[in-house]
Symmetry: C2
Subunit: 337 residues, 2 copies
């Protein structure tokens, strides 16, 4: 086998033979630090109660972008889905679909990133799978992560639980992830660097849930952006959400990038931003807890829940007017996660 071939993943690495064993061995070696061995299936001890179960496939393009890569994204995306249900993320599964020809160098970088993110989030990669498809039948690598979390007793969070009078909070500035991807993909120079905000939100939701008993709803603003999740909460809770444009944190760089590209920051994906709806009387306490955490330094109160019109999100614009915040029809930015 030529040296060049040895540096790349081959179709035969997915075939269930000796080469696959070598590939899996490589994965296990890299992820050893992040937790247990990577088995076909894992038997795990559990206490009675409630678990949260979620899945996400990641197809982001490019694989490496300012502030992250597909590996970090795959861990954080699933960890965040668990966190939003009020759970403490515990176990992840990890499944790779690799395009023949991916370099081992790229694969190793992704594995290192997964290991680091899992450590940061405090989750164990418990089980895994690897498939290889022919050149041209995938796009470098796709990663699925599924996750299991434990929901602490007493925690009851749902997009259906927002009530009229509640406060709407966010943990920081929006739009960074989507623009970071686009800037790299299109080779656009915004003049200012924008880095993805990809981060494991469980690290901040844990102290928030521990300190504030009236957290009704939490949602991370991924595909479809802040606009989509506010609409989801408004619909599921049958309430109206009123937000104030000037209160929504948007960095100068994101504002500039959005103007340049003709995007609405409310529609841009994030991977480390979430909305928390809490009882009005706990809003200040919740904000203080969020701001005390590195992932919540830019936290802000952006609006409130009103009784009606149910299912509608209304934005008070900087000019004093009002407009309905709509859900985008299709994809603003394809393959941002």
């Amino acid at each position: 086998m030529s040296e060049e071939m040895c540096e790349r993943i081959l179709l035969a690495h997915g075939g269930g033979g000796i080469l696959m064993k070598e590939l899996v061995g490589r994965i296990v070696a890299k992820l050893g630090g992040a937790g247990g061995p990577l088995q076909d299936s894992a038997t795990l001890p559990i206490e009675g109660g409630r678990i949260s179960f979620t899945t996400d496939s990641f197809v982001v393009s490019p694989l490496f972008f300012p502030g992250g890569d597909i590996g970090r994204l795959a861990v954080c995306g699933t960890v965040n889905d668990l966190a939003m249900s009020g759970a403490r993320p515990v176990w992840l599964s990890l499944s790779f679909i690799i395009e023949e020809g991916l370099t081992f160098e790229a694969f190793d970088r992704i594995l290192d990133s997964i290991a680091a993110a899992a450590l940061e989030a405090g989750v164990v990669v418990a089980t895994g799978d690897t498939k290889v498809v022919e050149r041209g039948k995938a796009d470098g690598i796709f990663i699925n992560t599924s996750g299991i979390g434990v929901v602490p007793a007493g925690v009851e969070v749902s997009s259906a639980f927002a009530r009229s009078g509640d406060a709407v909070l966010i943990n920081g500035g929006i739009g960074e992830h989507g623009l970071a991807i686009m800037s790299r993909r299109e080779g656009i120079d915004f003049g200012i660097d924008i880095e993805s905000d990809t981060a494991p939100l469980s690290n901040i939701t844990a102290p928030l849930l521990a300190g504030v008993k009236t957290v009704r709803s939490m949602r991370d603003a991924t595909r479809g952006g802040l606009a989509s999740i506010l609409n989801e909460i408004a619909e599921d809770s049958k309430v109206c959400i009123r937000v104030v444009e000037e209160a929504i944190p948007v960095s100068e760089a994101v504002r500039k990038g959005c103007e340049l590209m003709g995007y609405d920051p409310l529609h841009i994906a994030n991977e480390g931003k979430f909305v928390a709806v809490v009882a009005k009387e706990d809003a200040d306490k919740a904000l203080a807890i969020m701001r005390a955490h590195p992932l919540g330094r830019g936290a802000a109160r952006i609006g409130e829940v009103a009784a009606g019109p149910a299912g509608v999100v209304i934005l008070k614009t900087a000019f004093g007017g009002e407009r309905v915040v709509d859900v985008p029809y299709g994809d603003m930015l394809p393959r941002i996660c």
Copy 2:
């Protein structure tokens, strides 16, 4: 939008907007019969004890083949991983990576097949995810299923638990899945129809585990075939496994197909066949339980566990000789699952 476009999945269906909501609505409608609603994450009640957690991505080509399709395969593959750990499969997650342009007709057929297989296996699809990538960046559809099962108290099954003297059983004829895929892919006519054996093995492992307390190891013979899993058990348990060629069930059609293609049936993938290692004194009882089940009508005792040489699988050939059963180096048959 043209009629032709309406019949196909678009990139915009993966964008987190209204179109994605419609696509997810379609999935939920189809899978409603198989269990609960398909949420971003599911909160599930659980009793204390042990769970089994597993993941598999399915990239089979073609998507539809004699005896099954990627949907049935995705459910059964993950159900079988859980079953092999001794668990009762309970929940599945379902994540689609769809190539832009897949017809809704094909997608609906796959969803129907998933619903039917989930019902057959008694599992609930609890949570899901959908991504769409550009034409030429995937191959029709890839499906990841992850699964959670409950391991009954007292069940202790592992590929490391085989002991010298144990009997080695299989639930039926090998090689059908791999050859069914190849026959369709290459357009080869074996003269006889070969159908994939894809099936949810939990339906037969449950009565086996309930009736026989000395089940040490169970493994389903997927990628790498019977050869790979026998080697895994031999290695993990540090024992020698001796099998008898004439005792291994292989249908005439498979034998003929393998001769034609130059394959060793021991290396061909199955999706509904498993090996059970049980204590010698329970071998007949185990065989009787297996044969009483539709998935075990062709069950057979194919060999025994010996003390050494450890980690080696030896086949007594039909001609009375002996040979070491090796693990294939790479892929005999790429993308059979």
